[in-house]
């Protein structure tokens, strides 16, 4: 399994906000255990998808100069769930960022229905600390999947720069 919990970006405003979608499917093994007879996307993986949406939003703002890691989830509330066949829409808004890290506010919806909402905080690892983390490869894989095709930098150019 690849640790990619978003399928595609549908909106990407550099340094501001982004929306990504995740299609839930019964082909995902874990749904058969979570739960038998009642498959729902685990809340932890919805959180991961939100973190990937927000983390790429933050990483792209700094042109992937930093290794972005999920540092803290100050708040995350679940109001509903997502089942196979549903399309989750993850929205992340960059509230703050500095050279040390950043904070996003995020929501997950299925259609109009609010599934989750919260805040996620990211920290930047120093280059030497982050050397073992294969962040570049992760983003590269994401590009192969075309998740950034709809992205736009502040200049209107596609992002990340080719």
């Amino acid at each position: 399994m690849r640790w990619i919990w978003i399928d595609r970006f549908v909106e990407f405003q550099s340094g501001s906000h982004a929306r990504a979608i995740k299609n839930v499917t019964l082909a995902e093994e874990h749904l058969h255990d979570h739960f038998p007879g009642f498959p729902v996307m685990p809340a932890s993986l919805i959180t991961e998808g939100l973190a990937q949406t927000g983390g790429l939003l933050l990483g792209e703002k700094n042109e992937f100069k930093y290794v972005v890691i999920l540092a803290k989830i100050p708040k995350m509330e679940f109001h509903s769930w997502a089942s196979p066949g549903d399309t989750l829409t993850y929205s992340a808004k960059l509230l703050d960022s500095s050279e040390q890290g950043g904070m996003v506010e995020c929501t997950a919806h299925v259609g109009e229905r609010l599934v989750a909402e919260g805040e996620i905080m990211f920290a930047h690892l120093a280059q030497e600390e982050g050397r073992t983390v294969d962040q570049k490869n992760f983003v590269f894989t994401m590009r192969l999947l075309g998740v950034f095709d709809v992205g736009r930098a502040g200049t209107g150019a596609s992002t990340p720069p080719a």
Partner: protein, 128 residues
Amino acid sequence: MSNDEIFEKVRKTLIDALSVDDDEVTPEATLIGDLGAESIDFLDISFRLEKEFAIKIPRGELFPDNMSLADKSLVKDGLVTPEGITELRTRLPHANVDKFAADPKMEHISELFTVQMIVNFMAHKLNG
């Protein structure tokens, strides 16, 4: 802005960042010992203070990046030396260093980080 108003905003910030109850946030409360803050929480607190007070807090100004005094020979036998105390006064001008200096055990250094220290810092930032 009065110190009371600043304290109320700092209290709100800490309740949100550390998930503590409002009566736990007293001026004397220590961030790490009493309120359970961990290293990453300091960045969270900084972000929230910036938002709450609509100001920018330059990196290291409120919470110094590296509080290790050991490599500078400012600690001897577990006690911060007079030179170390001088260093602390420079790096944490808004903390109650006098109180710490009375019993300068290195293991108590985190107690310098109190709610009042943040209030003092913000008062200095906002009111000069």
